[in-house]
């Protein structure tokens, strides 16, 4: 998804792991791993937010910790983040869920309609009201890396993260072993990856059934300025209603019908960004 002003191509959506990577149990490298240059999945294209992801090792990160306080400032400059399949249900209460123009289309949470602007992060780095915080954001600064060794997934961390400290905070390693915090992060990343893969399968099915249509939204701010969000897609209700019965039944078995309805319901959340502009589609 992109905004008019930024011209960000849909193709710049983060590729979180290599295509088709099955969610395997994350593995903590016991020995210092091969240099990171050994083709981790984000080579060439860093996922959103991550500036310097490095494989997490006891040797390298022994003295590192995470600050106790949570600061969402790192997410302030984005207007959308990818969602896992199971997140469409909590997400629709807080923001529109749309699909990227990429192939396959991925569900993303729309967090703002202004250029580089996340409406849910306040001046102090807090998350607005009781709005849902997407797992993609809660995961940061951790991430899974694939492509190090066949069939293996490693936990990595963004060394550029503001939440990372040296010799203070919640330790990443204790006595050379991953701390409970790190173990929890690994499990969280694995679970998110599994849901992300399901979301991609859902996006592929929407694409294959030709249910998605491109859309733009024009929002009138209280001060009169107009903001436009485009280069994203939504489910066309008429096409969804016309989905052949066998496909409909297959989607039901896969649990996709609920995802469609959560997406459609989330279209009610555009008004959270302001009133629809006059003459808008």
């Amino acid at each position: 998804m992109a905004k008019k002003d930024r011209g960000q191509k849909a193709g710049s959506e983060p590729r979180l792991t290599e295509k088709g990577a099955a969610p395997a149990a994350p593995e903590m490298p016991a020995a210092p791993p091969a240099p990171v240059a050994a083709t981790p999945s984000w080579q060439g294209e860093l996922p959103l937010f991550y500036k310097n992801p490095q494989l997490l090792t006891a040797e390298r990160h022994q003295s590192f910790g995470l600050r106790e306080t949570v600061d969402f400032g790192f997410a302030r400059d984005t207007n959308s983040v990818p969602l896992g399949a199971n997140e469409l249900f909590p997400a629709h209460f807080s923001f529109p869920v749309v699909f990227t123009e990429s192939n396959p289309p991925l569900p993303v949470a729309v967090l703002g309609v202004g250029a580089n602007r996340n409406s849910f992060v306040d001046d102090k780095g807090g998350w607005r009201d009781a709005a849902y915080v997407p797992a993609y954001i809660r995961r940061y600064p951790f991430i899974l890396a694939t492509g190090i060794a066949p069939g293996q997934i490693h936990l990595a961390i963004d060394e550029a993260a503001g939440s990372l400290t040296k010799d203070s905070g919640r330790k990443l390693f204790e006595g050379g072993q991953p701390s409970p915090l790190t173990a929890q992060a690994a499990e969280f990343c694995r679970a998110f990856q599994a849901e992300f893969d399901l979301a991609r399968a859902f996006g592929e099915a929407l694409q294959a059934a030709n249910l998605l249509v491109s859309k733009r939204v024009d929002i009138q701010q209280p001060d009169g300025t107009r903001q436009t969000l485009k280069q994203f897609r939504v489910v066309d209700e008429a096409r969804y209603d016309a989905l052949p019965d066998p496909a409909f039944l297959a989607w039901r078995r896969r649990g996709w019908l609920g995802l469609v309805y959560a997406h459609l319901l989330s279209m009610r959340r555009w008004q959270g960004f302001g009133a629809p502009a006059a003459g808008a589609v």
């Binding site: 209460f93 019965d245 409909f248 019908l257 609920g258 309805y261 959560a262 459609l264 319901l265 009610r268």
Partner: protein, 261 residues
């Protein structure tokens, strides 16, 4: 609908649809509108929903599900006919969305049933038609001298009544669809009695009983034929909206905690 004693069970309020034997929720003296009877009366424009402050569930039509699903658990009454309701409170006689001044919580959807008040359709069974009525007990109904807000002026219904008529007509049409929807859920035996255990932050426990929801296990097992029948009748969307809306029990608990109930 709620009790502090978890071993006790209590039931939903009389959120009955009109036509049922007891008076519909909120209405105390509904009467057909007539130029004779309501000649000198005016209805002061107000945004007070104080009349709805004692309700903990409000009837909903299917057409409202997508708006209501943002804040309220949508459940079904165990009455005949089955009526979908928006649960607006967890304690008996306490609507968490209406404050002491009668204001509805900003940003939360106000059900059509509430916005329609004090008007309603009264069924004339002999003639098989509906006539517009009003609750003579409504607080907003007053004797006024001027033309402003009058129900009748110079013997003729004013635009206020025309608007109420249009609103009630649409409401009735939505209600008819809603009844068909509920009848289909009954026919497929998809509704199950349900209770929700809710714990507030201060440890106070509520057990909510006396309502029904779509049994997800039964719904998942519904054979293709009746399922596709539901789809053709455009009932799938509301079924899912209902199921999605049950996440709002947490919203109610948060509101109750904030308001110190």
């Amino acid at each position: 609908m709620a009790e502090n004693d978890p071993s006790a069970s209590s039931s939903m309020p009389a959120a009955t649809a009109e036509g049922a034997a007891p008076l519909p929720l909120f209405y105390r003296r509904p009467a057909p509108l007539s130029a004779l009877r309501h000649f000198g009366l005016s209805l002061s424009a107000t945004d007070s929903f104080a009349f709805a402050r004692d309700a903990n569930a409000i009837p909903l039509n299917v057409s409202e599900f997508s708006l209501a699903a943002r804040h309220y658990p949508i459940v079904f009454t165990p009455t005949d006919p089955v009526t979908p309701v928006a649960v607006v409170g967890i304690a008996k006689s306490r609507n968490l969305f209406v404050d002491a001044a009668g204001k509805w919580l900003a940003g939360a959807y106000i059900p059509a049933y509430v916005r329609r008040y004090p008007f309603l359709f009264i069924e004339d069974k002999e003639k098989d038609e509906f006539i517009l009525g009003i609750d003579d007990a409504a607080k907003a109904l007053r004797e006024e001298a001027g033309e402003k807000d009058r129900l009748f002026w110079e013997g003729k219904p004013t635009s206020l009544i025309e608007r109420a008529m249009a609103f009630c007509k649409e409401y009735q049409s939505d209600l008819n669809f809603t009844r068909k929807f509920c009848a289909a859920l009954e026919e497929d035996r998809l509704l199950a009695d349900k209770e929700a255990g809710v714990a507030l932050k201060d440890g106070k426990k509520f057990r909510l009983t006396g309502f029904r929801i779509v049994d997800e296990a039964k719904f998942d097992k519904l054979p293709a034929k009746p399922l596709l029948q539901l789809r053709r009748r455009r009932f799938m969307h509301p079924i899912y909206l209902h199921m999605i809306s049950t996440a709002n029990w947490a919203t109610l608990v948060d509101l109750a905690a904030q308001q110190g109930d």
